[in-house]
């Protein structure tokens, strides 16, 4: 087990190093540079921009910049964001909790909805409910995320002004609210982005859950359960559902990194200052340190979650022999 762990850890480190290096090279290959983007006003002269390039070492060869970045990253210094004019670490420290809040709730809600809908469909496969839910899911699955986010925003924040139209809290009143009212204000601002995120993802999860349930329905133990006098619904809910949940749980684990790295369009439309938006804007601004560090954080999350999942499976399943 120890040797297996060490090998998987080395693999994970290798993946992170490769992905980060790749991102560093690709973002440097793109035309333009962070200084030209950050100081884009026409009355700022090229000489001033050149001065900034020298100050930040951007005039040095890319290989030298890379070595310097790696050495600094190893010391916990992720560099300086040119577009935010702050250390990258500080930028991420502000954005990550926002993303975790939005995506965490979105992830839980999307799996709750997806599993529920999948179960409802599988109870009567081919029935009217299954067919209608299937059509609705297909539509939701096909809808572009930015479009759905905009429709939700316009419908529920403007036409029917039930929820605030963006931001994490009320930009003026929040500071002056009682603790209870502050909590309520947070919840109100979370509803639309979380719901949008959940609906977008739940469609895929429901289809996955339905498929998993249909795969276990012909099992012998289902026939036994029915023969013992259980109703079809009770057999599905108490026996088939539990067995079909295992692959969905694996999917949940694999979804964590994707959610944690942000939902770009939802963050953008709902003015939610999260990781996804920051990294995408960083690419547009050629913010080398921010993009490279962002990719590194994402790859650490993906490799870390995959590692934990592998270890969990290895520990739980005796059929898997290690070493």
């Amino acid at each position: 087990m120890r040797r297996y762990l060490a090998a998987r850890l080395l693999q994970a480190i290798g993946v992170v190093a490769f992905v980060t290096t790749f991102a560093f090279v690709v973002v440097h290959l793109a035309p333009g540079d962070p200084i030209a983007s950050a100081l884009a006003r026409p009355n700022i002269t090229e000489a001033v921009r050149e001065q900034w390039r020298v100050a930040y070492g951007l005039d040095r060869p890319v290989s030298e910049q890379y070595v310097r970045w790696v050495v600094n990253a190893a010391r916990g210094n992720l560099g300086y964001s040119f577009s935010h004019r702050r250390p990258v670490r500080d930028v991420f420290a502000d954005a990550m909790p926002n993303t975790l809040l939005l995506s965490g709730l979105g992830l839980v809600l999307s799996f709750a909805i997806g599993i529920m809908v999948g179960l409802l469909q599988a109870e009567r496969p081919g029935g009217r409910r299954d067919r209608w839910l299937g059509r609705i899911l297909l539509v939701l699955y096909s809808v572009p995320d930015f479009w759905l986010a905009l429709v939700v925003l316009i419908l529920f924040a403007y036409r029917l002004p039930l929820f605030p139209p963006g931001g994490m809290t009320d930009s003026v009143m929040y500071e002056y609210l009682s603790p209870g009212a502050k909590f309520l204000d947070r919840i109100k601002h979370l509803v639309l982005p979380v719901l949008t995120l959940a609906v977008l993802t739940a469609a895929g999860i429901a289809r996955f859950q339905r498929g998993a349930l249909l795969a276990v329905l012909p099992s012998d133990w289902m026939r036994t359960a029915l023969a013992k006098g259980l109703s079809w619904q009770a057999a599905v809910r108490h026996h088939a559902f539990r067995n079909a949940l295992l692959p969905t749980i694996t999917l949940f684990g694999l979804s964590i990194p994707a959610f944690a790295t942000g939902a770009i369009f939802v963050e953008k439309v709902f003015s939610w200052p999260g990781m996804g938006l920051i990294v995408v804007n960083g690419i547009a601004a050629r913010d080398y340190p921010l993009v490279t560090a962002g990719v590194m954080v994402m790859s650490v999350l993906v490799a870390g979650c995959a590692l934990v999942a592998d270890i969990a499976v290895a520990a739980a399943d005796p059929r898997i022999r290690l070493g």
């Binding site: 006003r41 935010h84 702050r86 316009i154 931001g167 930009s171 003015s271």
Partner: protein, 568 residues
Amino acid sequence: MHRSFRVSSRPLRLAAPLLLALLAVAGCKGLEDSKSAGPADIGGTLVITTAADAGTLLPPLIASITDRQATDLLYDRLADIGDDLNSVGDKGFKPQLAERWDWAPDSLSIAFHINPHARWHDGFPVRASDVRYSVSLIKDPALGSTAAPLVTNVDSVSVRDSLTAVAWFKRHTPEQFYDLVYQIVILPEHVLGNTPAAKLKDAEVGRRGIGSGRFRLAKWEPGAKIELVADTANYRGRPKLDRVIFAIAPDFNGAATRFFAGDADLFENIRPEQVARFVNDTAHRLQRYPTLAYAILGMNLRDPKSPGQAHPIFGDRAVRRALTMATDRRAMLKNAFDTIGQALYGPFPHAVSVADTTLPQIPYDTTKAKALLDSAGWLVGADGVRAKNGRRLEFALSVPNSSASRKQYAVLLQDAFRRVGAAATVDQTDFATYSAKLAAHTFDAQIGNYVTDPGVSGFKQSWSTAGIGKDGGNPGSYSNPFVDAMLDSATTTFDPARTKAYARRAFETIIEDAPGIWLYETPAVMGLHKRIHTTTMRADGYWSGLADWWIPVSQRNARDRIGLRPTP
């Protein structure tokens, strides 16, 4: 045959006359409310939606419009430019930190007398040494100030006594006063002085925003909002508003929804398709404001592959003039901006003091355009595209994909050029790539958005031979000795009438040479909540008089009534 463009939105067409009248009223009244605020009208909150967060609150390092807006409200200058944006001498300038100033007999120095009541937001008094520090900091190469190239004529500042700063100039020029007081914001030495200039770019102290302006920084939540509150003890008087909040909304539609849903009071960039929404809107109004921004199709007069040589297409003046003739600018303006469009008459916005909208223009005439190309040897080939000596009249038209109006114009121009036998390929890239092409001069033609300074010297940067290269803002490498001479004269005469006359002759020649096609003044129409009463808006920043905007007591909502009480 020419096909005219039509406005496609029916509601927009129906509402257009009414909206024109609305805008005309807003625009012609001098952009201010006739009634003025009384003592009871102190208070209220203004929420502005803005697309991007600020990067810094340190004026010498500002780069974005949000940086500029926030720092203009937080910091004061020695004096503020007048509403007419005159940059010659000190006519029209209004005292700020300097309550008065005396010119030396040789005009090579000016003594500024600091207002003894002026205080920084942390309570320290503003002193003459702060002026000396600010000037030396902005000129320090280690800082890399974006404004440094604009203050080269300012030599130094000496301190006569704690409230008298003497500014020394290298040469007596018409804009020496403007160079100093407009380009240099006065900074607190006791806050920044301990940080080396080279470290200020990254220093936390640059985010504190301790200035002497009528608003002070209350809170900056990165990516979410910047909150400024009234400096109630300010030496220039308390602002009428209690609070100004810049709420960051990166998505255009998201920002618009926040405005129309009442979450924000001011939305800067109303697009033509949104204008009709104001017709029956009882809560909001449209407000046109002057601007110094304009867009042109800029042609590269140098060969991108061989910069020492003339561009094979745009090096030919006849081609440039023919393409200008092929462009129906009025129809394009109507198509892209409908009622909020504003025509451009040359390389200047109409708000600058030297603007002249009566200058003769190259007329729209496709027949003449074709004849001109024929006579220049560009003959139509079998595929309808002209060619000369084996070189096709084919070029790339670069636009940044971040600008909806410029992308739209690129398509309209492509169509207009095609009608006279020129094949333009729209080269749409992200802003960083577009900027890189401009900096490296590796483009054929580009649709650029220019923002000029109020002073005449800004035009030298963009259109004189001196503006070619790293220190200038002349990406198309336009060069004409007569224009250079006229712009030199315009920037050295002390008579504003002659300044205007020289500038007129320079602009006239530039228009004749056609190094660009003058497309439009960037539409500056904001959506504003009706309870917000404004004052005069200056073209270099509508927010210049924001401290005197007000909200009548009778029209206030919940967020206006919270006052300045501390947060619980």
